[in-house]
């Protein structure tokens, strides 16, 4: 307790634990080692699907590759989302920003790789420069979307929920518009240079894994270091824990929140580039639930929607869970739509657990 040499110190009196039901106490005990707990759930899920799948196909190499690949894409979105949620914010726009970034990158590549006739017939005389410009465009669109989110939230003081839902819809519409005015005509994404797919997509497997996996892993390591070891990370937690208090303590809170949304937008743009490289096209309608997968990864990973606590390690483990469910269901012949149902339920359960934990800490 308190040091004996100090006269009349304030006695250490930890907050009394709130009265709780046995269920809540049981949940709390399980979540003491939150990350370990989720890791066990993930391993159990994978073991379960491996055992029940025909010929243990779930654990087969190609299925495993797809799971890692999809999870790596979710992880890019979830890393940005982790920072946002730690500040007690939310970004619902990540999926459609990913999509519109991919579409923009494809469009810019088509415009700069050669004449429209060459591009439609699959010839890309200026592929090198087109790839670079396309990547810049995709990342730029992500940054821009993040900056718009950040400015509306900090300057106009609008709720993050509404702003990012609006940007979600705007990005969705723009993706449709750009794709329907592209070089390849109505409702089609122009073809992208093969070299692009070969470098960033399935054409370039290192140790059997695509570039994206290494990029995501590197991004996660950097994000973890930034969050735990730097002033930026410290202030991200502070802003989420007490926004007004942080402001009064001299933290430039508006700038900080702005930068966090810009980071999240950038990660969406990056994910859009890799999505385009993987499929060589963009599924316009296929990313409307990416935001839920990313948010699921973050909250399953133990980051609190109330702000102030969270970790990248948890997010990394959490990013696998929606994907494992989807592939598990698919192999069982269960409609993958059930994945949406289950992820929705998991988010609700994770938020409930977060609530229980919060009662303990306030």
């Amino acid at each position: 307790m308190s040091a004996p040499t100090q006269p009349e110190p304030v006695e250490l009196r930890p907050a009394a634990p709130p009265s709780s039901s046995p269920l809540q106490r049981w949940l709390r005990a399980g979540l003491g080692a939150n990350n370990l707990y989720i890791l066990l759930v993930l391993i159990a899920l994978m073991a379960f699907f491996s055992l029940i799948s025909p010929n243990h196909a779930f654990f087969g190499t190609s299925n495993f590759l797809n799971i890692v690949w999809d999870s790596a894409e979710t992880l890019l979105l979830a890393i940005g989302e982790t920072f946002v949620i730690i500040t007690a914010g939310i970004d619902l726009s990540v999926g459609t920003v990913l999509m519109v970034s991919g579409v923009s990158a494809a469009w810019v590549m088509a415009q700069t790789a050669g004449t429209p006739a060459q591009v439609t017939s699959g010839h890309f005389p200026h592929a090198g420069q087109a790839i670079i410009l396309g990547i810049i465009a995709g990342l730029g669109v992500g940054l821009l979307a993040g900056a718009i989110n950040g400015i509306l939230i900090t300057r106009l003081r609008l709720p993050a929920f509404i702003v990012t839902l609006g940007v979600f819809s705007v990005a969705n519409g723009l993706g449709d518009l750009i794709s329907s005015s592209g070089a390849a005509g109505q409702n089609a994404i122009p073809p992208v240079p093969d070299r692009f797919a070969n470098s960033f997509g399935s054409g370039n497997l290192i140790l059997g894994l695509p570039t994206l996996v290494f990029v995501s892993a590197l991004a996660a390591i950097i994000a973890h270091i930034v969050l735990t070891r730097t002033i930026f990370g410290r202030r991200t937690f502070a802003v989420g824990s007490n926004l007004e208090g942080s402001r009064l303590s001299g933290v430039p809170v508006n700038m900080h929140v702005f930068l966090v949304y810009v980071l999240c937008g950038f990660m969406s743009g990056l994910a859009g580039i890799f999505d385009l490289a993987r499929y060589q096209t963009v599924d316009i309608a296929g990313h409307s639930l990416d935001n839920l997968n990313a948010i699921a990864a973050v909250v399953i990973g133990g980051t609190s929607l109330f702000g102030g606590t969270g970790s990248i390690v948890g997010t990394v483990i959490g990013a696998f869970i929606p994907t494992v469910l989807r592939y598990g269901f698919t192999i069982q012949g269960v409609s993958s739509f059930w994945q949406d149902v289950v992820v929705g339920l998991i988010i609700i359960v994770a938020v409930f657990i977060d609530q229980v934990r919060r009662q303990r800490t306030t």
Binding site: V10, A238, S241, G245
Partner: protein, 258 residues
């Protein structure tokens, strides 16, 4: 007896929030080595006034003087640069962060060299300094690595006071620093206030407790409905008189006599 000239002085400060007028002519002065108390009923404008001193709010009118020179604070950082630190009524601590991180919030210590330029924290240095600060102020804590949400109300108050006194070299302002505290913890904060004053710092405190005000304050400023009705030395007045001015009873009596 020659008066020490004030470090911080306010003249005719006004401030409204939309249709609510919080201050309509507040005067105040704080001198080095003295404790100046601001008293007044709920809603008298005390917190608004000290937020103007700390740069958290800007006045609509009136003058703020630092060392006799008119000064404008656009942000808490501006006030800090003049050595003015504040313990706000709601403490402004980030409860998810530990004690050391809270003491250094907004002025984190960086690592040396390239790592520091990249924004890396020197947590070891911050913890060491935090530990020293806790010892100097005789605040008993098992560890400066405890998250603030695990601390009692008194300990949180002590942390907020420690943060202000650690950085406030000239003026330390405290908004109801003992409001949520038990007897023992209140005594600890009052001792802390006296120690800071004896070190030559100007201390400004807001309190609703008359015995407390009369125990630590050298001067008392009475605010009523956003206006300063009296500035007095503690040894020239009594609790009854102060309460009468706070509630308006004394003012009405004076008006009757005139």
């Amino acid at each position: 007896m020659a008066e020490v000239s004030p470090i911080l002085e306010a003249r005719g400060i006004t401030r409204s929030f939309g249709r609510v007028t919080a201050l309509r002519g507040a005067d105040f002065a704080a001198r080095p080595g003295e404790v100046s108390a601001i008293v007044g009923d709920n809603g008298a404008g005390k917190s608004t006034l000290i937020k103007i001193f700390s740069g958290a709010l800007q006045p609509d009118g009136g003058t703020l003087l630092i060392d006799g020179k008119p000064t404008l604070f656009n942000s808490p950082q501006d006030a800090r640069r003049h050595g003015i630190e504040t313990v706000y009524q709601d403490l402004a601590l980030a409860s998810a962060l530990d004690v050391s991180a809270n003491l250094f919030l907004g002025r984190e210590v960086r690592s040396s060299g390239l790592a520091g330029k990249l924004g890396f924290l020197n947590d070891r240095a911050m913890r060491k300094q935090a530990q020293q600060e806790m010892a100097d102020l005789q605040i008993g804590l098992s560890s400066v690595r405890q998250p603030v949400f695990t601390l009692s109300g008194g300990q949180r108050q002590a942390i907020a006071v420690a943060r202000a006194t650690a950085w406030g070299k000239r003026v330390v302002i405290m908004d109801e620093p003992t409001a949520a505290l038990g007897v023992r913890e209140t005594q600890m904060v009052l001792r802390l206030i006296k120690r800071v004053r004896d070190a030559g710092t100007a201390v400004v405190i807001i309190s609703h407790s008359m015995p407390e005000v009369f125990e630590v304050a050298d001067r008392i400023t009475i605010l009523r409905l956003g206006r300063t009705v009296r500035q007095m030395r503690r040894d020239e007045t009594t609790m009854t008189e102060v309460v009468a001015f706070m509630t308006g009873a004394a003012v009405e009596k004076l008006a009757e006599i005139e």
